[in-house]
Subunit: 407 residues, 3 copies
Amino acid sequence: MAPHYAPSLWARLPAMALMLEIIFIVLFAFFVETEEFKKTKNQEFLYLYANFQDVHVIVFLGFGFMSMFLVRYGFSGTGFGLLVAAMVVQWATFINAFLSSFHSRKICFLVNAELCAASALVAMGAVHGKTNPAQLLLLGLLEVTGLVVNQGLIKKLFKNDTFNTTMQLHVFGALFGVMTSWVLYRSEAEPRHEKEKFDSKTGLFSTLGMLLLWMFWPSINFVEAQEIRIMYSTYLSLAVSAVTAMALSVLLSPKGKINLVHVQGAALAGGVAIGAIRTVLDPWVAMVIGMCATLLSTLGFRYMKDHMLFAFECHDTCGVLSVHAIPGILGWFADLFLQLVNTDDATIAIRFAVHYICILLISVSMSLVTGTITGFLLKLKFWKPQQDRKCFDDQAFWEFPHLAVHN
Amino acid sequence: MAPHYAPSLWARLPAMALMLEIIFIVLFAFFVETEEFKKTKNQEFLYLYANFQDVHVIVFLGFGFMSMFLVRYGFSGTGFGLLVAAMVVQWATFINAFLSSFHSRKICFLVNAELCAASALVAMGAVHGKTNPAQLLLLGLLEVTGLVVNQGLIKKLFKNDTFNTTMQLHVFGALFGVMTSWVLYRSEAEPRHEKEKFDSKTGLFSTLGMLLLWMFWPSINFVEAQEIRIMYSTYLSLAVSAVTAMALSVLLSPKGKINLVHVQGAALAGGVAIGAIRTVLDPWVAMVIGMCATLLSTLGFRYMKDHMLFAFECHDTCGVLSVHAIPGILGWFADLFLQLVNTDDATIAIRFAVHYICILLISVSMSLVTGTITGFLLKLKFWKPQQDRKCFDDQAFWEFPHLAVHN
Amino acid sequence: MAPHYAPSLWARLPAMALMLEIIFIVLFAFFVETEEFKKTKNQEFLYLYANFQDVHVIVFLGFGFMSMFLVRYGFSGTGFGLLVAAMVVQWATFINAFLSSFHSRKICFLVNAELCAASALVAMGAVHGKTNPAQLLLLGLLEVTGLVVNQGLIKKLFKNDTFNTTMQLHVFGALFGVMTSWVLYRSEAEPRHEKEKFDSKTGLFSTLGMLLLWMFWPSINFVEAQEIRIMYSTYLSLAVSAVTAMALSVLLSPKGKINLVHVQGAALAGGVAIGAIRTVLDPWVAMVIGMCATLLSTLGFRYMKDHMLFAFECHDTCGVLSVHAIPGILGWFADLFLQLVNTDDATIAIRFAVHYICILLISVSMSLVTGTITGFLLKLKFWKPQQDRKCFDDQAFWEFPHLAVHN
């Protein structure tokens, strides 16, 4: 009986992935300057290598394992994360090399590409379980294109040096993903799919992913800001976040127990918020920001997530709105506030405020528009998405040889 | 029926954690010199960053996952580890900044704070599963306070430069935890709680934690000693330890099989012992010390752990006495022995011996006394500990949403 | 009933391991120059420390966890990996110190020893589940001896500076292991043992191991080549590999689904192939090589593995032939091809070709011969291998205390 099986990936994923790979290789052969590729010095690179590897772990291991809390979605969570990140890294390398990279003091192309991949993975967090890998691949590539275009636009308009990719990474990615998920809403599979839950095994794997993100988050903020004090601030902010998240989770729970998924998300909020800040902070200010970000994030998990689902028919699998969007926007306003406090001149203060708010508005609008368009593209029957019954389930996409043996 | 449920954390954990966080923020605002915080140079920091991140992984991931072998205690093992470590890191940063840090050549405050957190996690290992998170939080803070006071005391009394935090970290932490556990002894839950066992899933997670500790242990010894040869010695000693632990586990087993938990503990003994040594070692001496430490540790696991339980009513969940205390003390005496061998002058030799033994005696006494006091503080009914039936069980503290869905 | 139990390890493993340890300590005491050990400078070491730690993670965590996909072989996969690697590291340190290390620009002895251990773990991959730890220990020591002798031989014969350990590591290790497995073939346990499968838990653990290998592979190629561009090439090649492996797995699957084990192996093929190359590559060339290596590796998994089993009675547990041998040889020929393209002079080109092919032939012959000899040594009844029924099963070697409690 055909309807028992998810539509085969045969006709879509391989053709798309292999074709894109061949196109990428041709593009690299013609457009990626090999000089650029060759001139980096060993010394300079190794100096930042430990830092880069932390980002590498966050992108390829952390995000994938953290999204693994769904009870039957472990292979897909990590596997498709690897697939999309590996593809996006190539695409981002190309477009950054083509458009001239937006940060030149970075260790060549790698860090930029990884930050773009992180942004795509944030967007993926909102649609996990409801899309097939071919759709995720398209989503990843469009998200990164949107992100880079948005960054180019802001750079053109504002000519600012203190450009902040990290804020964009989180806010743009999260809103993009949420909009896509909104368009893709499956009324049959909701309000809560029977497989949308965690058990003790998947909970422990996602704890592993979350701890990797939590531990290496200071590195992802540092790699962007290149300022050691941002790393210290992130470190303290995350420490406060972890404690606050656990306390608030108990406080807001009807039974007085800790909710694993909420804590995992909210404990990262402090790191996201600090990532949006370029002002040098006193330690205690970083701690206050971490506490506020965690508070908003926990409230978002407890109340807003269901509200989004019932009121707006918008389903956000990993709660990226609470983990990335809200703390990112909070951090952006905190940065603006700190800039205003440090400025005596009212004219400059107003310029700062307009500047910050415009950048945020442009980024938000871009992410909402591109996310919605991507959603409609992914909704085409052409992509053969899995049936509602097969959502949040590895069996739609992965061979389970031990089942074959038993039959 | 009330007795079915563990006492809610609602009234204790959130109030305590949030109050402490607010106090910490105020203390940081007034007492942590921001100059100190700001003056570190990028260059200097990045140079040691890889090394610091290894310690970070040990503290936040390694200890948590290693304590995860208990079959139903995975969320608590890692979650409460994160909670206590994140809190202790802030407290240790403050008291070290306040009392002026005991090592100034370290990369600022971070490393010190992490070593203190490691010590608290060692102490926690003895009481895992028998306490609630509010109790663990108090235990962590008191342990670190005791450790720092002890270090200040020894520094005052002996004015020595070759001060050894690593030895203290292990010996102080382990004895502190064991004494606390002794006071908290629950005769109902013993001799062996039905949930105090591992299965293949939790065994693999704790193997992951143990391997992270094993791999990055050279870094934790290096970060303290700042001497590359200590790192080499640790590396070789750990290699010998891993092999010896597996061989001895088979040899001492009635069925000739390997015991996972014993091997995991004993394979780290070599690293702990070398951590207590500041003399530069020949490679073969490091290997001999690793072998002896593993031998003692394995014997401790096989025979002493049960003896402690039945004779002294002292239950040591993770076997911290065998993993941390015994190898630490062995290393301390090995260091003394090597110092005596290298000294020709009898007067100096005697001074050395007195010096070493006094430091050990003071540390041991301090840890025993403070651990006992902490135990009595934690025994207060105020803390609402879980019932005996709910020991070693995540369900006392964590929401399991998938159960709610099924009902 | 005796036949219910696997033969006890009691009489073999402890005696062998402890005896070897004591011999190693004596050899270290007499032959490992402590000057060598002591003269390394902190600065120089820390510079490469992040890089070294990545290799450390690959050897002790990555290989072990990746081999954990077998449903009942998790403890053995990681535990015996640790046992053999820890032993081989000591042995390799000794023979490299004795024969004078084959690369002097490395950070002292550690990196060499780790690369040798990696090679032994590759060989182990072919015989996992069909041997006991005492046999694995012997296999590891003989493999490394063979590898070092082979390298010494090639160095003597060709006096070349561009010596490539990484190629040897993979090709020598894989062919050695496959030959050993061929000799050890158990007709009863084949064609497919009932425990030779994965489930969702072990699949996720092996995904963790595979991602660690995948992420840190650029480091293992760099640590050998000391050339930053090799690292970039590996990075791009692996990104292409991951995408291609997933696409090809779907394409070659009858049901249009992804096979986890095939993808895990084939996604690493690009990194192995680049490791065999010392020529500096354009980015697009690295990507093409990654794609070809993955194609060959996937075909090897889908078709050759079963063919080897049925036609040659050679069982390759982890598919090391497809992951390590084929991509390694492909990379070696790609390197030769690139050398020929860059050479104008026909005489030099012919010398190059002869040179490359001879090195490959010598390595292959040596690995086949030593692997076969090792196989016959391991086949001796003296080693008391487990029964066919107990293959791929932890219970033959590990205590499961929770079973004892239940009984």
